[in-house]
C-alpha cells in the first residue's frame, strides 16, 4: 500500500486497472438495467415506480460513500500530509456531488407520485441537501485557492467539520419522525425488501460503485498530471526569465 502511495507507481497502476474496470462497469450496468426493467416485478404498493429505487438508493449510498472517502482523505492530508490524500479528496468531490444530485432529483421524482409532493423539509431530505451544498462548498474552495497545498489543507478542515453530517443523514430517519421511510436494506433483522427487487438493487449498486471507483481513478490521474504540468510550466517560465536576464 505504501509503495502505491508514490504518484508514479499509482499512475502505472491506474493505467493497468482502467480498461478492466471499464469492462466491469459496462457489464454490471447492462445487467443491472436489464434486471431493473425486464426482470424485477412491480411492487405491490408502489407499482412500477419502484424502478426508481434501483438508481435512487445506489446514488444515495455513493453520496455518503464519497463524503466519507473525502473525510478519511482529509485526515491523510492533515496528519500525514500525503499529497495523494489531497488528490483523492479533491477528485472525489465532483463525483460525490453528482451522485448526491442524482439522489436528490430521483428522490423528488419518486416522491411526487408516492407522497404527493416533490419536496418536504424533513430531516433526511434536508440533511442530504446540506451534503450537496457541502460538496459544492468544497469544490469552490479548491477552485478559489491556487496553490494546491494550501487549498488541500483548507478543504481538509472543512471536510472534517462537514463530516458530522454523515451520521446525521444515516440516522435521521431513526432520530426524527420523517416522511422518508426508515432503512430497509441494512437492518439488524435483515432486509425488508423481497429478493426479486433486492437482486437488481444490489447489481445496480455494484455497477454505480464500480463507476465511482473508475471515474475517481481517472480523475486522480488527471489531477496528478495537472500538478506535473503546472510545475513544468513554472520551470519553463523560470528558464525564459533567466534567458532574458
Amino acid at each position: 500500500m505504501i509503495s502505491l502511495a508514490n504518484p508514479t507507481r499509482f499512475l502505472s497502476l491506474v493505467g493497468a486497472v482502467v480498461p478492466w474496470l471499464t469492462a466491469v462497469v459496462v457489464i454490471l450496468l447492462g445487467t443491472g438495467l436489464y434486471l431493473s426493467f425486464f426482470v424485477a416485478p412491480p411492487d405491490y404498493q408502489q407499482g412500477e415506480t419502484v424502478r426508481i429505487m434501483f438508481i435512487h438508493v445506489p446514488a444515495a449510498w455513493l453520496a455518503l460513500f464519497g463524503y466519507t472517502l473525502i473525510a478519511i482523505a482529509a485526515l491523510g492530508t492533515l496528519i500525514w500530509r500525503h499529497p495523494l490524500a489531497d488528490v483523492a479528496a479533491k477528485t472525489a468531490a465532483p463525483i460525490g456531488a453528482t451522485f448526491t444530485f442524482i439522489a436528490l432529483v430521483t428522490g423528488s421524482l419518486w416522491g411526487k407520485p408516492m407522497w404527493g409532493t416533490y419536496w418536504v423539509w424533513d430531516a433526511r431530505l434536508t440533511s442530504v441537501l446540506v451534503l450537496f451544498l457541502l460538496y459544492l462548498g468544497l469544490i469552490a474552495l479548491w477552485q478559489a485557492i491556487e496553490e494546491p497545498g494550501r487549498a488541500g489543507r483548507a478543504a481538509a478542515i472543512l471536510a472534517l467539520v462537514g463530516g458530522v453530517n454523515v451520521p446525521i443523514i444515516k440516522f435521521s430517519v431513526d432520530w426524527w419522525n420523517t416522511l422518508h421511510q426508515p432503512a430497509s436494506v441494512f437492518r439488524p433483522d435483515g432486509p425488508t425488501i423481497d429478493p426479486s427487487l433486492l437482486t437488481p438493487l444490489f447489481v445496480m449498486a455494484a455497477a454505480f460503485t464500480a463507476l465511482f471507483v473508475l471515474l475517481h481513478l481517472i480523475a486522480m490521474r488527471a489531477e496528478i498530471l495537472r500538478r506535473r504540468v503546472r510545475a513544468l510550466q513554472q520551470t519553463q517560465v523560470a528558464r525564459a526569465a533567466m534567458a532574458e536576464a
Partner: protein, 91 residues
C-alpha cells in the same frame, strides 16, 4: 414497448436525469484526463522534463507539486553542519 403504468413519465425522467448527469461526469472526467496528458506530452516534446524523469530510473521518481512537505532530502543532498572541533587546551 415496456408498460411503465400511469407514472411512466416520473420513471423515465428519473432515468433520463441520471443518464445525462453520469454522461456529463464521464465526459468532463475523461476529457480532463486527455487534456492533461496532451499538455504534459507537449511540454516534454519541448524538452521540458521532470528532474526525476531525466535522471536514471534508479532513484524513486517523484511528481513535482506533489512532494511531501515533510519529506527528508536524500542523505547526499542534506546540508551537514560541521561539528565544532574541540579546542586543544594547553595542558
Amino acid at each position: 414497448m415496456l408498460d411503465l403504468g400511469p407514472h411512466a413519465s416520473f420513471i423515465l425522467a428519473a432515468y433520463g436525469v441520471t443518464a445525462v448527469a453520469i454522461a456529463g461526469l464521464v465526459l468532463v472526467t475523461v476529457g480532463d484526463d486527455l487534456k492533461q496528458r496532451n499538455l504534459l506530452a507537449a511540454l516534454e516534446r519541448q524538452g521540458i522534463r521532470r528532474r526525476s524523469a531525466a535522471k536514471s530510473t534508479a532513484e524513486t521518481p517523484t511528481t513535482p507539486g506533489t512532494e511531501r512537505p515533510s519529506a527528508k532530502k536524500p542523505a547526499s543532498k542534506r546540508k551537514t553542519t560541521p561539528r565544532p572541533r574541540k579546542r586543544k587546551t594547553p595542558s
